[in-house]
């Protein structure tokens, strides 16, 4: 009897399977996964049926077919090259815009963010007007304005191009800038520069250690940069000037020398930088304000100058707060570079959709496109995480 009572007690703690939470949980998840699976399978089979019905290839063999169209700005690309190559050229152009855009937007954004907190009323207000005007305007509109209203309408034609101090030629046909040109294979010179860099880093480490131990001013930037300049300079002279400066020169409608920037590239870059800088400025301003006021007061109490206060006390702490949101702005800039399609700069998105227009299968190409951007996003996120970790407060 006693044993039977125990059994009932056990039975009471374990409800029937259809009311057992643990079983319901498993069943619910299995049902959910099956539903998701069937939904995806339905999409996939419909896709396959429709693609076969319209005679599109369902594999990736088309990547080896000739591209069949030119890529503006890529002079050594021929339409007979496979689509694979065209996509790579587009990807390289996307990265070119993203990398330079990120660098410029950071510089402009940080300066604007600091300007918004300037003690000079004029600077403060001018920065505020800029940020408020740009932040609430669509980035596509800014890019379109830079291209259609500034580059195409405000710049002169190639016949009477503007020459800025001989270093830059501006016209609707293109923008040429002063650049360096290699006169011999660059291997040896790069090796010399590498040695210089290694020496500079070693000197920096030594000066830092000396500073830690004895308190002598380290001047590590001065030492490092000096060593690099010295070694680089000696190498440059010894190798007989491996890089020469070329200035762009115009004769009639022909420009030689310098480096050419496509007008579409310039407009896209300008639009992205103008827009993203306004967002970075807001983040920088917020981060500086988020540093406790006591820090400023303490810095003033030990008689640091305005610059020193910013450089050694405020900005390092603000950077810690600013890194994650700024990284997300970098991601936005990278993704926004796809808006180039509106002004005609040929990057990954443009190449992909031109290829789709040339009767190549859309689903595979779009999958490749998404993969390209995902890789880039993950790469930027990974760098941001490393920076974030190195700046994070070390709890001891």
């Amino acid at each position: 009897m006693a044993g039977g009572g125990e059994q009932t007690a056990v039975r009471q703690t374990r409800p029937p399977p259809w009311r057992d939470v643990r079983i319901i949980r498993v069943v619910a998840q299995v049902v959910f996964l099956v539903a998701v699976f069937f939904f995806l399978r339905f999409l996939f089979t419909t896709l396959m049926t429709n693609m076969r019905a319209s005679g599109l290839p369902t594999g990736f063999a088309f990547l080896d077919q000739p591209t069949g169209f030119d890529i503006r700005g890529a002079d050594d690309f021929r339409p007979s090259q496979p689509i694979r190559d065209a996509l790579l050229v587009g990807y390289a152009n996307t990265i070119r815009v993203a990398a330079i855009g990120i660098a410029l937007a950071t510089v402009v954004g940080v300066l604007l963010g600091i300007a918004r907190l300037s003690t000079n009323w004029l600077v403060r207000k001018a920065a505020a007007v800029y940020v408020e005007a740009i932040r609430n305007t669509p980035v596509l509109l800014i890019i379109a304005f830079m291209y259609f209203a500034v580059v195409l309408a405000a710049l002169p034609g190639i016949a009477d191009a503007v020459n800025v101090f001989g270093a830059m030629i501006l016209s609707t046909r293109g923008i040429w800038m002063v650049w360096g040109e290699a006169t011999q294979p660059l291997g040896p010179f790069l090796a010399v520069l590498g040695v210089g860099l290694a020496v500079a880093v070693a000197l920096g480490v030594w000066r830092t250690r000396l500073w830690d131990e004895t308190g002598t001013p380290h001047h590590r930037v001065l030492w490092g940069a000096g060593a690099l300049l010295l070694i680089g300079g000696v190498g440059y002279v010894a190798l007989g000037a491996p890089i020469e400066v070329t200035l762009p020169t115009r004769e009639g409608r022909l420009v030689t020398g310098g480096i050419e920037l496509q007008p579409t590239y310039g407009a896209l870059l300008a639009g992205l930088v103008i827009y993203t800088a306004s967002h970075i400025a807001e983040i920088v301003r917020g981060s500086i304000l988020a540093v406790p006021k006591g820090q400023t007061e303490a810095a003033q109490a030990i008689a640091l100058s305005g610059f020193q206060r910013m450089r050694y006390v405020i900005l390092p702490q603000a950077a810690r707060i600013a890194v994650p949101p700024v990284a997300s702005q970098y991601l936005n800039l990278t993704k926004n570079s796809s808006l180039a399609i509106f002004v005609g700069y040929v990057e990954l998105t443009r190449v992909t959709f031109t290829a789709i227009g040339n009767a190549n299968p859309a689903p595979q190409l779009v999958a490749i496109l998404a993969l390209g951007y995902l890789t880039l996003s993950l790469f930027i996120s990974a760098i941001a995480n490393v920076v974030n970790r190195s700046l994070a407060l070390k709890a001891r």
Partner: protein
Amino acid sequence: MAETVETPQVEPAEESPVLTEDPLTQPAATPGEWLRANLFSTWYNALFTVVFGAFLGYAFFRLLLFVFVTANWEIVRVNLTTFMVGRFPRGELYRAWVAIGLVSAVSGLGVGVAARRRGRANRVALLRMAAPGIVFVAVLLALTSTATPALMVALSALVALGSRTVGMRLPPRVGRYMPILYVATVFGAYAAFSAGSPMTYNNFQGLLLNVFLAIAAITLCFPFGVLLALGRRSTFPAVRLVCVGYIELIRGVPLITLLLMGATMLGFFVPAGMTRPGQVTRALVAFVLFAGAYVAEDVRGGLQSIPPGQVEAAKAIGLSPLKTTLLIVLPQALRNVIPALVGQFISLTKDTVLVAIIGLTDVLRVARAVTSQPQFAGQGLQAETLLFTGFLLWSICFTMSRASQRLEKRLGVGMR
């Protein structure tokens, strides 16, 4: 493209804390002292002020010269209706005025009811919020060539004032039902445009298309995003996995990819025999799929900010999981992320011009197209049309951002 700040959103602090002076402890500065402190504190500051001021003055002068002298606004004047509604039948434009009248009446009522419940709003703050909107209407009226718009705006203003008076006399408990009325108004405004006419949203053009896309996408992506966020926080690993996968995939690709996919590829996913959706529907689907992932991340932040004690307390008084989520967790979580959500909605509104790329005739496409009209072609009027378009979208988004700042203050986010 959508802005996201995944991490602790930096608190927007007051305008210029460096110079906030307590009026009680410091005597009011004379103009001379103010100038000295703000512009000429040191010799290099003074030099900078002079040089930078000269530059700014010149830039401002050039801007004024452009806007009031050199610019040829005729192209905007002639095409103003096209900018607003595209090729919407001109005989049916009264529908737009009906919609505007309806919205004015309900907003007036809302303001009245709110004033009854909370006391009158601060006039200056209200004006500060509405300023871009007022400038928006003023610029549009300055560019019209007939008297109808001015009369209609005056009429709408009267309707709004009248319904505000009505709202202030209604019992305060009406306030509880206002959200339902707002949603009904959105549908009502849409019905005013399309009821009994072939003009469904797939034929909308111009700014009307942008506004429609923004409102529809915001309305649809919000519940979708909340569901995704709840899924990401679910105790079911399978649900979590699917939601995380979706959110991260969408956030990794540009919006234009989704829009172009919708335009070129959506047909592939529709079984043969079913009608293919229209181009605007496709764009709307892309916007909702895209914005949902970003809204989900914002809402997740709010969900994470709810102390576990809230859920435990709800369990203790015997609420079901559904009721706990709907009545306890979500209301608090959403209140915490209102600023982030509004920021998301502002970017969504800005992103509606991307439909110009996939060939829809939105306001940006109108701006590009009118410059090739025979009487304006080859005159380089891109700056005028694009500036005007920029102004339209800027004033809408700026008003939204000001409204969100006000809401943030009133809700006391971060202060409780």
